[in-house]
Amino acid sequence: MKRLAVALLWLSACARPSTEPSDTVRIASVTIDSDATLWALGEATRAQVVAVSALVDDARYSPIVDVWPAELPRVTGTSESLVALRPTVAFVAEWSDPTGRSLLEQAGIDVVVLSGYGGFDDYKARVRTIARAVGAAERGEALVTAFESDVADATSSVGRGKTIISYSSGNVAAAGTTFADEAEAAGFVNLAAREGLEGHVQVSLEQLVAWQPDVIVVPCEADCAATERAFATQPGVAATPAAKAGLIVALDPVLLFATGPRMVEVTRALGVRLAEATQ
Amino acid sequence: MTLEVRAAAARIGSRQLFEGLDVTAPQGTVTAVVGPNGAGKSTLLRGLCGLLALDGTVRLCEVALSSMSPRDRARAVAYLPQQTPAAAALTVRDVVMLGRLPHRSRLAGPSRTDRDQVQASLARVRMDGFADRVLTTLSGGERQRVMLARMLATEAQVMVLDEPTAALDVRHALDLLRTLRTLAAEGHIIVLAIHDLTLADAFADQVICLPGDGTTVVGTTDDVLSPDRLRAVFGAEFARDGHGTLQLRVDRGSGAKTDACASPSPEPADSSAEPSPRP
């Protein structure tokens, strides 16, 4: 009898930690990136989320539209409405307002600033940071492992060393960007990186033409095929190898500017396009 | 050629400046317009130039000014306003050349005739040595002579001047008025507003007095510039000496009189000049 009572006590003591997190951990996610990662971390983590970012349902920017329940409050920035939800941890972007951040910190919230959106490694680091902050380190590692095998699957040499450039109204992704990783995984040479540029830089159309890229990647407007045709008519572009080979590739902006697991899809899409064009 | 004004009237808002003005200015005459500040002298002069519409008629050689085109009117009547913008950075020659605008088509440049006329007009006022000087570097007297040259360059018969002597010292004022008298003798019709009543008396053939109460008085200098009338209109003591020359009597002792060159104090008859309307 006494042993049963001790066993029951011991069991109830063990049971309590598994129910406590959902009472004591309240997560506020203010970036689309953390919205997506938290969702991917599974049921237990999802139950702890009290707010997601306002743009999570905007198809132009979010990879997980209409996934989070509609009743869950949407918040922007580091506002008082966020504090009112009494989160214990908040995930914010590095470009968020510092005063707003200190407001959250004064309210006793653990503010995790997500920075580093420069490619595959940065994504893995962010997943680990988020997972650790919400006590789901193991599931975070599982996500990272799944991502790594995805990347390995998509990695190929289909690009065959061709030069590639991502051009968005003059904004070019050089070394240390998600595009750099995506293109290299498909076997391409990132032209802007080869020319010594880093990060996102403004480059003139003339420079683009002078570099003679083999593949040009642009973000789609409403109609991807029309965007490609329109870009080919820009002055001087017709003289690039990309235009001559039909390798102006327009990708959905959500995909092209993705910083999460969908990055791998860009690698695959580039490979598919190259295969089509060389047939 | 005669300048005829019949039943001219003007009002500002609800205040009647003057009405029932009849005056005839034949060729070769100088007509002075006198009256207190705000009495409507400038309004009358602008009406004579066609810059604003007066009630009644203004006719030159039996032709109504209002029926003339702006260019024809500009060729018939030359106007010198009270103030010229001080920042005009034109040369003397440029200013006088502007007087030729009524004779030039819109698209044409200056012709030989224009240049000759400009030269002749400058010589007339003894300013031909100043042709390349910038207007802002000239003295007040020199500037007025240039403006006079500009009026001569228009070859207009009628010359209307609004207080041309206001900013001039005695020497230059006399010089200007003598020039105007000579021009009248050559066949021009001169109409000018003037504050200095003794000068008006000396140089004008006829006087229009606008007391500011809506009435008008027109006549010879003896008739209009009588000491009794001047006392009533300006509140100043004038007298005629043995030669019939008008003189201002200044009583320094009581301090009630004002200096002849300053603005006359408002006279009792000018009750309608009050800003607040009376029923």
Binding site: V201, Q234 | R75, A88, D94, L101
Partner: protein, 328 residues
């Protein structure tokens, strides 16, 4: 008086040649000459010289000339040495309309969509100004109307930006539009710009006498036979069209209309028969030099509006200082 203008012409020609030769891709003098003469050249060289550098440089000249001309007309019309197209609010209206169109995603409709929107904005502001001028022709209230319109348009543009902060891609596009650019401009842009300049040139031939007369004040001008109502309408229309279309073609580029007429006045005097074409010539040369500078300093593109502001501010202060000593 002619000699300094000849020097400016020489600078313009040299700058134009330099603009064709200089840039990425190592295109030499010989290849440029061959391209211009229609001879066989490598496709890249032809693309760089004929498709990119030549229309872009000529557009820079055209836009600079239009802005310089618009500034000279505005200064003559308002008799104010600080007047420029920006004062009328036309550039602000064009800029605002472009920003709103970008925020609404209209750039997806085609390359001319934003330019069209900007023109509509400029025309809208112009119509308001014309209506105002009809009701109350005094210049002072007209300037105030222009300043008020510029304020409102600026506020709306800021509103667009503040909404765009969340949508960073749109925000970038709007800011880039506001900063101005000659990049990627083609022969069709040049066609529109050149036509506008011709229209402006015709208006300036019509206006030059009246602008001269206006320098002695509106009363004197009217007494010399000028129809002031018509003068103001044509003048405001010309300034609006010139500034509005330039903003539509290349974004917001300031200071050119303010500074160029002053320098031109120093070279050829105040007579508008010489001042207006001189302002156009100087403005075009200046803009070309600015574009050349922004293109060649680094591989990373600089906005021309920034350069004109940086160069224009000290010149403007110099002019202001000289004005203070001149006007007693």
């Amino acid at each position: 008086m002619i000699r300094p203008l000849l020097v400016v012409c020489a600078v313009l020609v040299i700058a134009l040649w330099t603009a064709l030769v200089v840039g990425p891709g190592d295109v030499g003098h010989a290849q440029v000459a061959a391209t211009l003469m229609g001879q066989e050249v490598p496709m890249v060289a032809h693309a760089l010289v004929w498709d990119l550098r030549l229309p872009r440089s000529l557009l820079a000249v055209t836009v600079g000339a239009s802005l310089g001309l618009a500034g000279a007309i505005a200064q003559g019309l308002f008799r104010n040495p600080l007047a420029e197209p920006g004062v009328l609010g036309v550039s602000a209206g064009a800029a605002m309309a472009g920003a709103v169109a970008l925020a609404a995603g209209l750039d997806a409709a085609g390359p001319w969509a934003i330019a069209f929107a900007a023109c509509a904005g400029a025309v809208g502001v112009l119509l308001v100004l014309m209506a105002w001028a009809r009701a109350d022709a005094r210049l002072s209230t007209l300037i105030l109307c222009g300043v008020a319109l510029a304020s409102v348009c600026g506020a709306i543009t800021t509103l667009v930006l503040s909404i765009g902060i969340e949508r960073w891609e749109v925000g970038i596009k709007v800011v880039r539009w506001l900063m101005g650019s000659f990049d990627g401009r083609s022969w069709s842009h040049l066609g529109v710009g050149a036509t506008t300049l011709l229209v402006g040139g015709a208006a300036s031939v019509w206006l030059r006498q009246d602008l001269d007369a206006l320098q002695l004040g509106p009363d004197t001008a009217a007494s010399l036979g000028a129809d002031l109502r018509k003068t103001w309408r044509v003048g405001i229309g010309a300034v609006g069209v010139l500034a509005g279309i330039c903003t539509a073609l290349t974004g917001v580029i300031g200071f050119v209309g303010l500074v160029v007429p002053h320098v031109a006045r120093g070279l050829v005097g105040s007579g508008h028969g010489r001042l207006l074409p001189a302002s156009a010539l100087l403005g075009g040369t200046l803009m070309l030099l600015v574009d050349l500078l922004t293109r060649t300093v680094t591989a990373v593109a600089l906005p021309p509006g920034v350069v004109t502001s940086l160069l224009g501010t000290p010149v403007f202060l110099l002019v202001l200082a000289r004005l203070r000593t001149e006007v007693t």
